[in-house]
């Protein structure tokens, strides 16, 4: 996937994996990601962060958000999912235009009291160099659609942030 400014993305037709069928240890296909100047400008216009300091490099948390977008593009995240927690570590600055490869794995996947909980680990590499790692924790409430209803929440909301106060 090469980034470019674009209209609101539709759920990817390639998103065939469903949340409920994932298992701990699953590894999603690695996706190429190159963040353009237009991408950064659009991101900063949205967040409101001053743009001057990001003329050459990518804001670390923007990279984390786009690593989540890689997940959203590959997995039908169900309606009602809550993004309950997030971790991110920036290993080094990332240059705008630097080709990256993002890989995602399922580090936990379990059901407790009817609620499905999962953790996705994402890693961004530049060549052999790991530049950032992220971990997203999500929860599907008992009345959610863990089978992954593509007609419900689009690709759903692992980024999402229904801002769960779960836990």
């Amino acid at each position: 996937m090469t980034s470019s400014s674009s209209p609101l993305p539709a759920p990817s037709p390639r998103a065939r994996l469903t949340f409920g069928r994932l298992s701990r240890g699953d590894v999603l296909p690695t996706v190429d990601l190159t963040i353009t100047p237009d991408d950064v400008r659009a991101y900063l216009a949205a967040t409101g962060e001053p743009a001057e300091r990001w003329s050459e490099r990518v804001p670390p948390i923007m990279l984390s958000a786009l690593m989540l977008a890689v997940l959203l593009a590959q997995v039908e995240i169900p309606k009602g999912v809550l993004h309950t927690g997030h971790e991110h570590e920036a290993r080094r600055p990332v240059q705008i235009g630097e080709p990256l490869a993002v890989s995602i794995s399922v580090s936990s996947h379990s059901v407790r009291r009817g609620a499905l909980m999962a953790t996705f680990d994402a890693e961004a590499r530049s060549g052999d160099d790991v530049v950032a790692i992220s971990r997203a924790s999500v929860l599907v409430p008992p009345d959610g659609d863990a089978a992954g209803d593509a007609t419900g929440g689009g690709t759903g909301d692992a980024n999402g942030d229904a801002n769960g106060s779960a836990e």
Binding site: L8, P60, S64, H86, E87, E89, G154, G160, D161, G164
Partner: protein, 127 residues
């Protein structure tokens, strides 16, 4: 290096900002936009992206640390309640501990009423 004070960052997150973020972050989830799904969903109206709220923490850390935040900065947070749009969010970071090579801050985002939207920690390697 002495760990610096991190100044708060306050910003209004309104629907225009959320709509722009949905495009920029490639998150098509209708719960964030003025859609039937948002109004019939669990919160009764659109909610801001959690990562948009979290971006204010990263901005505050960048303000304090500059490139050091990009070279070994880390975050670990949990969202505590939905950020119902529009919402004025303030991101804060308070020094928790400091060693020779690492500073750790308690971080939070609050709404205008002081209700926590997000809590966690941020760590930065000190040069």
């Amino acid at each position: 290096m002495t760990a610096p004070t991190v100044e708060p960052v306050t910003r209004l997150i309104d629907q225009v900002r959320v709509d722009r973020y949905a495009v920029a972050a490639r998150d098509p989830n209708p719960i964030h936009r003025e859609t039937p799904e948002a109004y019939s969903g669990p919160f009764g109206r659109p909610v801001a992206h959690g990562m948009l709220v979290l971006a204010l923490v990263s901005e505050a850390m960048t303000n304090a640390f500059g490139e050091a935040w990009e070279r070994g900065g880390s975050l670990k947070v949990r969202w505590r309640q939905p950020a119902l749009v529009p919402v004025e969010v303030t991101a804060r970071a308070t020094l928790r501990s400091q060693s020779a090579d690492m500073a750790t801050y308690d971080v939070s985002c609050e709404d205008a009423n002081g209700e926590a939207l997000l809590t966690g920690t941020a760590s930065v390697r000190l040069a």
